[in-house]
């Protein structure tokens, strides 16, 4: 009996562990989430019935690298939301560590920048953990395959944070254009220097 309980609890804990620490890789199917947008309404991916996919960007107000990419994220939404690949921006930073990343500050930023995309507050950090996001900015390009949403690209927006005009590898743009052409992206994962997501101290 005792061993049975142990085995059951082990299996349960394994299940719980994988639930929390999904950390998607390219090719994985994504579970939907529901997070509060800057307009106080909850947003989930299922609401975008006509979307072919998404450009999910983990970002924040305060990170200097994220700031460098702000206008490029806005441009991605302008270029691709009309092609059914909208940007979904998510901020997961702990407000205690970075006070400039509060929900109120996110609302101000979305207003002053006139964001055309949702800017969601991942207060519990569960969605960042689910995706395995570590940095800001950190992009996950998702594509619909039947009823599934599959990860097609993970990483940086392009290869020059400091100077957009000097970037000669536009990873996210290229990945989405490939997907729109019905092809798999040539580059599926990249890395870039960025701010670490500010995790809650446990």
């Amino acid at each position: 009996m005792k061993t049975r309980t142990i085995i059951v609890s082990l299996i349960l804990s394994l299940f719980l562990f994988t639930e929390v620490q999904a950390q998607y890789k390219v090719g994985d199917a994504v579970s939907d989430f529901s997070l509060k947008n800057v307009d106080n309404k909850n947003v989930s991916l299922a609401q975008f019935a006509s979307a072919k996919g998404f450009i999910v960007v983990f970002t924040c107000n305060s990170c200097p690298v994220a700031k460098k990419y702000e206008s490029r994220v806005e441009q991605l939404d302008k270029d691709f939301s009309s092609k059914a690949y909208p940007v979904i921006a998510i901020s997961s930073n702990d407000v205690k560590v970075n006070p400039g990343d509060s929900f109120e500050d996110m609302q101000k930023k979305a207003k002053s920048e006139a964001y055309t995309f949702p800017y969601l507050y991942d207060e519990s950090q569960a969605v960042a953990k689910q995706f395995g996001a570590t940095n800001t900015p950190h992009v996950f390009v998702l594509a619909k395959e039947g009823s599934k949403l599959v990860v097609k690209y993970i990483g940086a927006i392009d290869n020059n944070a400091d100077d957009a005009s000097a970037a000669d590898k536009k990873y996210v743009e290229d990945a989405v254009n490939s997907l729109l052409d019905g092809k798999a992206p040539a580059i599926t994962a990249t890395k870039a220097i960025g701010c670490g997501i500010k995790w809650k101290k446990t």
């Binding site: 200097p64 690298v65 460098k68 570590t134 940095n135 950190h138 990483g155 940086a156 290869n159 020059n160 944070a161 400091d162 100077d163 000097a166 590898k169 990249t190 890395k191 870039a192 220097i193 960025g194 701010c195 670490g196 997501i197």
Partner: protein
Amino acid sequence: MKAFLIIVLLFLSSVSSGFSQGVQKISKTELASILNNPTDKLHVINFWATWCSPCVSELPDFQKVVNESDRSKVEFLFISLDFPSDAEKKLAAFMKKNNYTFKVCLMTETDYNSWIDEVDPGWQGNIPATLFFNRARKIHHFVAESIDKPQLVQTIQNFL
């Protein structure tokens, strides 16, 4: 006469600021050769930037540990990932203001994806990050988060 003095002063100030702005640089190739250095010595490389507040917060402790360490056994290098557009201006001023004497180099390769994996395959590029290694002894320990002083001292002790 006055105009002449002003010109001389302007010239002198430009020369001196030119000196103070001198920041040592490191290329991707130079980093790779350090990473593959086969000598039996512990290397500690910290990746940081003046724009990264948790990086800046841990530097006073790093400077203390650099001062207290036996430099014949452990070598420190601080690689700045400041943006090239303002690094010359910010980095030297930052070092001077804080009286830091540790060795700092500005990374010139901004195509980060081309070298991050060489530092550690598990690193996503988030800073602060610190690498401890000694190729001769096959030591490779990578920490992609802030380190406090006791932790830093202990880690160095473990690998000496």
